[in-house]
Each structure stands twice: as structure tokens, then as C-alpha cells.
């Protein structure tokens, strides 16, 4: 389990008030009975944690499934690390 996956699972469990063991990569937010209001809070917590901006209804990202969320976060975190590298040295 990647660290991003760990963190995303933990955020989902906390915001949706469900047991972390229930969250799997194959779950959809619907399976987990996550309401739209919970979903925007999950996205906010992820964004705030990683200081990234999650795409809004971008067809290239599937943010309705846990796997899609984790992959989107991993991609954005990697992009941010690549972009921030020179600045970090300064």
C-alpha cells in the first residue's frame, strides 16, 4: 500500500465516519454510502493535506472511485514534487 493510498483511505474513513477496513481500492464512493457533501469534504482534506488542487469533473480523472481518487492524488503529488524541486533548493 503506497503512502498516498494509506493517507487517502484514512481521510475517507475519517470524513465519512466509516471503518478504515471497509475502504478498498475497488470501492466506489457510492458503495461506501458517501454523500456528495462528504465527498467534497474528502476532496478538501486531500487537497489541504497535499497542497494540491484536485480536478473538477475532468473526464481524465475518475474521482467517483477510491482507485480513481488515489491515482489522481498520486499523479498530482508527483507533478507537484517535480515542479517544486528547484524551489525547494532555493
Amino acid at each position: 500500500m503506497s503512502q498516498v493510498q494509506d493517507t487517502v483511505f484514512a481521510i475517507i474513513a475519517k470524513e465519512a465516519n466509516i471503518d478504515a477496513s471497509k475502504v478498498t481500492l475497488d470501492s466506489t464512493l457510492k458503495d461506501l454510502e458517501i454523500t456528495s457533501l462528504d465527498a467534497v469534504q474528502i476532496i478538501f482534506e486531500i487537497e489541504d493535506h497535499y497542497k494540491i488542487t484536485m480536478p473538477d469533473r475532468d473526464p481524465n480523472f475518475d474521482t467517483n472511485s477510491v482507485r480513481g481518487l488515489v491515482e489522481a492524488v498520486e499523479k498530482l503529488v508527483a507533478e507537484k514534487a517535480a515542479g517544486d524541486a528547484p524551489a525547494a533548493q532555493g
Binding site: 454523500t35 456528495s36 457533501l37 467534497v40 476532496i43 478538501f44 488542487t53 473538477d56 469533473r57
Partner: protein, 422 residues
């Protein structure tokens, strides 16, 4: 004037028709479509959209950089320099719209004791947001320890109603109604009920909102319900709402008084229906939304078949549009297919607490001119939204009665019914 008749209360669902009726004798507005109700209606019938790139605020921190702003507006041209510091943008809008409405009504509230028999009820979802934002910025970002001494009276949500009252000498019941996106409809419903009950004979009422600020835009972005392209209600490609701003203010008058003085009656405020879902803070509930429409019909003494047009709430969010469609079907049965339904938010944006007031301009226009304003920016139909949405062009069609829907976060539903003035 006939004496007021009080509604009987009881557990049985009964319809009580007050003898006192409500005439709308003045209309004013300032919107992204124009600085008057006349200009706003002209744009609606032409299908012109006021949605565009944001001009009035910094956009570097915004992901969504469009809104339906009131553009080219110079408050100093309307309000004298001594008074202007007292008014947030939300009160400026309200005052300017009220002036147009009162001028059209031809009423002098300062004579014959009219002011004492007048209510002033103005809805606003947020209040003086621009002043709040600006003072917070100075305090937190610039570490400026001094707050402007007029901050409180600029920010308070009742300020728009009070400025109108002061301008015209309205000394009856005066307050703000705050119910997010249903504020204006709730305010106007309350004003009409006060006239019907005999509590007052006149009301200056509507809604005002000046919500296009960086923090409000960001807060809406965070909810992921705002569109970054444009507002496309009821169609398959809709991506959410686009914020708007402005005010709509109306003069309501006891019917016989308006008749007796030979006033031009723009429409009759026939009735209202108000319900709460009491279920979810954001997801609308079909049954209680429908019940608000049913209650408005009953309160207005109207049958479903009397309604020719509905100005929909139509925010263009994934949740609202199919739920509103189902609620219309539930209310109107087979007549739903004979109805025209449009969302003028595609043109003036979603002005939150002023929404119902801007849409009242559309509803009155439809009744008076027999022209149904369109749902603009409509691409392909969504199977979940299967009504006649008057896509992309206004339509000539005489209608006798209309509904105007407003639904708010918190699960609040407020529907008004208007009839053509006879």
C-alpha cells in the same frame, strides 16, 4: 378596502382565499443584463446572457473565472457622496432597484400615512459581503488594526431593507429574510401575506445580493457545483451554476387600492407555497419540492391546468435539475407536458438571495407580454430532464398564470404564483 379575513388554522388541509388580493404595481431591477428591470427584461426576451469573464474582482486565485456581474455600475452616479459610505454594494443594488419600482408605482409613501401602512421586506442570502471581505483583508492580510466604523451597518443583512425604508419613509414592518437562495421568494411571500392579512396595505419587497467576491467564489468552487464554461440548465452538458449578482425590488399593493387609484397592475401575486425538506442540507427532495408548488397553486386558488409557464430554479447542477423536473411532473401530472419551463439563470446567473426577485422580472414579463424567456446555452437534452425548457430562444405564448420556483441549501423551498392582471 375590504376588511382583512384571517385564515382559519386547523389540522385539515384547507384552502383559504383571502378577500384581499395583492397587486404588483412597481418593478425595479439591476442585474448583469442591465441596470433597470426594463433593460433586464429586454435582454431576457432576446436571450442575451450576462455571464462572462469576471471584471470587478481579482481572479488570479480563482479556478472559476466567470460570473454574471453587474457591469459598468458607478454607485456615485446614483447615491450622493455623503450617503454612499453607508452602503455596501448589496444595499446600493437594492436602493437603485427600489427607486425604479417606486417610481413606476407612482405611489408617494410620504403622503396620506401610506408609509405607516407599508412593509419593507428584502431577502439577502449573505448581506454586505464586499465590506466584510474588504475589512477582513485589511485586518488579517495587511495587519491593519483599525476596522472601518461603518462596517457593522454595511455588513448587516437587514441594511438593504433599511436603506429603502429610509429613502421612501416606510415605517411599517421592516426586516431582512435570510434563507440562502430562497430569500427573495420567502420575503415576497411574507410581504404578500401581510397585505392579505390586513397588517399592511403596501410592501416594497424583493431581494438583493452582491456575492461576487474572491472568498465567496472560492467557497462555491470548494463545493464543486460551479461551472467554469457557462450555465446550461437542464441540458446534458450542464456543469453547474454560475454566480450572479443584483437586485429585484417590487411594489406590492392591496388590489382595490391599486384599482381605485387607476394604477397599472403588472400582475397579481396570487399565492405562495413554502416547505422544508427537513432531510439533507444540500440534496433536494422531490416530494417536498412538489408540495411547495402544490401549496402555491392552492394558496393562489389555481388549478394545475391554469399554469402556462414555470420559471424554474434550474441551477444547472447535477442534483437540482432532474429533481425539479420530477417534482414538476409530480405536481402537474399530464399537464407537465403542456407547460413551458425555463431557467433564466442561464442569462442572469444565480444571484442567491436575489434569485427569486430577478426571476420575478421574467415571470411578470411572461404574463404581461406573452413572451416566455428561454433557457440559454442549451445543447443536448438529458433523459433525466424531459420537459419543454424553451431552449435557446424566447417563445411567443400567452399565459394566464405562472409559477416561479426558488430552492435553497438547507432544503428550503419557496414557490410563488402570479396571475395576469385582469
Amino acid at each position: 378596502m375590504p376588511p382583512p379575513r384571517r385564515a382559519e388554522s386547523g389540522h385539515k388541509k384547507t384552502t383559504v382565499h383571502s378577500q384581499r388580493r395583492v397587486a404588483i404595481t412597481g418593478m425595479g431591477a439591476i442585474t448583469a443584463l442591465g441596470h433597470t428591470a426594463t433593460a433586464t427584461w429586454a435582454a431576457m426576451r432576446e436571450g442575451r446572457s450576462g455571464i462572462g469573464p469576471i471584471e470587478n474582482i481579482e481572479t488570479d486565485q480563482l479556478n472559476v473565472k466567470i460570473a454574471a456581474e453587474v457591469r459598468g455600475f458607478d454607485p456615485a452616479a446614483h447615491i450622493d457622496a455623503k450617503r454612499l459610505p453607508l452602503l455596501d454594494r448589496v444595499s446600493q443594488f437594492a436602493l437603485i432597484a427600489a427607486r425604479e419600482a417606486v417610481a413606476q408605482s407612482g405611489l408617494d409613501f410620504r403622503s396620506d400615512g401610506r408609509g405607516e401602512r407599508s412593509a419593507c421586506l428584502v431577502g439577502s442570502g449573505i448581506g454586505g459581503e464586499n465590506s466584510h471581505n474588504e475589512q477582513s483583508r485589511r485586518f488579517f492580510a495587511e495587519k491593519n488594526p483599525r476596522m472601518h466604523p461603518l462596517t457593522i451597518i454595511r455588513v448587516m443583512a437587514n441594511a438593504p431593507a433599511c436603506h429603502i425604508g429610509i429613502e421612501f419613509g416606510l415605517s411599517g414592518p421592516t426586516f431582512a429574510v435570510v434563507s440562502a437562495c430562497a430569500s427573495a421568494n420567502h420575503a415576497m411571500s411574507q410581504a404578500a401575506d401581510m397585505i392579505r392579512s390586513g397588517k399592511v396595505d403596501f410592501a416594497v419587497t424583493g431581494g438583493s445580493e452582491a456575492c461576487v467576491t474572491v472568498t465567496v467564489m472560492k467557497a462555491w468552487e470548494a463545493m464543486r457545483v460551479t461551472a467554469d464554461d457557462t450555465c446550461r440548465p437542464f441540458c446534458k452538458q450542464r456543469r453547474g451554476m454560475v454566480l450572479g449578482e443584483g437586485a429585484g425590488i417590487f411594489v406590492f399593493e392591496e388590489w382595490e387600492h391599486a384599482k381605485a387609484r387607476g394604477a397599472t397592475i403588472l400582475a397579481e401575486f396570487a399565492g405562495s407555497g413554502m416547505t422544508a425538506d427537513a432531510a439533507d442540507m444540500v440534496f433536494p427532495a422531490e416530494v417536498t419540492v412538489a408540495r411547495a408548488m402544490q401549496n402555491a397553486l392552492a394558496d393562489g386558488g389555481l388549478n394545475p391546468e391554469d399554469i402556462g409557464y414555470i420559471n424554474a430554479h434550474g441551477t444547472a447542477t447535477p442534483a437540482n435539475d432532474p429533481t425539479e423536473t420530477k417534482a414538476i411532473r409530480r405536481t402537474f401530472g399530464t399537464h407537465a407536458d403542456a407547460l413551458a419551463v425555463s431557467s433564466t439563470k442561464s442569462m442572469h446567473g444565480h444571484a442567491l438571495g436575489a434569485a427569486g426577485a430577478l426571476e420575478m422580472v421574467a415571470a411578470i414579463g411572461a404574463l404581461r407580454h406573452g413572451i416566455l424567456p428561454p433557457t440559454m446555452n442549451f445543447l443536448d437534452p438529458d433523459p433525466a430532464c424531459d420537459l419543454d425548457y424553451v431552449p435557446n430562444a424566447a417563445r411567443e405564448k400567452a399565459v394566464r398564470a405562472v409559477l416561479s420556483n426558488s430552492f435553497a441549501f438547507g432544503g428550503l423551498n419557496s414557490v410563488v404564483a402570479l396571475k395576469k392582471a385582469d
